[in-house]
């Protein structure tokens, strides 16, 4: 089972510069655990205290997972997960 994961510029230090990596998992949480095994430190940029960080957007195909089931969002083979840091400030 392969999920394509698109990585934004600022997190490519964890993937050796790759803008896309592959992972597996039946939920988003499992996918992040899987990615962490090969890209140590990536998970902590996305998750804090068991929940998705507020200023990181994660999308399953075209939808923000906040509108789905967050970290429990189920994934299937061939899905694309995209990570984009929120653009925000004061």
């Amino acid at each position: 089972m392969a999920i394509e994961v698109r990585i934004p510029t600022i997190l490519r230090t964890y993937t050796g510069g790759a803008k896309q990596v592959e992972g597996t998992g039946s939920t988003l949480a499992e996918l992040l655990d899987d990615l962490e095994a090969r890209h140590a430190g990536l998970q902590a940029r996305l998750v804090d205290g068991g929940a998705l960080r507020r200023f990181v957007n994660v999308y399953l195909n075209d939808e923000d997972v906040r509108f789905l089931s967050g970290l429990d969002t189920p994934l299937k083979d061939g899905d694309t997960v995209t990570v984009l840091p929120a653009v925000a400030g004061g």
């Binding site: 934004p8 510029t9 600022i10 200023f55 957007n57 999308y59 075209d62 939808e63 923000d64 906040r66 995209t82 984009l84 840091p85 929120a86 653009v87 925000a88 400030g89 004061g90």
Partner: protein
């Protein structure tokens, strides 16, 4: 140094004035690696606040995907301050997530003049840079 065509600068200023007293925000896209802003993309401020801005996540996804398809990248990320000077706040610095972008700040605190300044923000460090406007 930021080099920006006059008409794009005018569009940013007009957007900031229009959304005042809420902060306005948006992107200037350009060909990847060119450092040349070409396309004006005003964004919705999902916070609708006079002191904070955030790109709506679904709109951001659409715009970023479009840029990727066009082989573009965000050259400028701009937002406005409505009551303070055109200098990035601590939150703007800590959330700056596009290392290659120029962060433009506009201040609409004064009715008659608009401050327009540009910065690079890398690893939490802010450096102001000169702005050259092309006629």
């Amino acid at each position: 140094m930021l080099t920006i065509p006059r008409d794009l600068q005018d569009k940013i200023v007009a957007h900031a004035r229009k959304d005042h007293p809420d902060e306005a925000c948006g992107v200037l896209a350009g060909p990847a690696g060119s450092d040349r802003p070409e396309r004006f993309i005003p964004m919705e401020n999902a916070e609708r606040s006079p002191t904070f801005y955030r790109f709506d996540s679904t709109e951001q996804f659409r715009v970023w995907r479009e840029m990727d398809d066009n082989d573009e990248e965000p050259i400028v990320i701009y937002h406005s301050h409505t009551a303070t000077e055109a200098y990035p706040s601590r939150t703007a610095i800590s959330y700056a997530s596009e290392p290659n972008a120029h962060y433009v700040l506009v201040s609409t605190r004064d009715e008659d003049t608009t401050e327009f300044r540009s910065y690079r923000i890398l690893d939490g460090e802010v450096t102001e840079e000169p702005v050259t406007v092309q006629e």
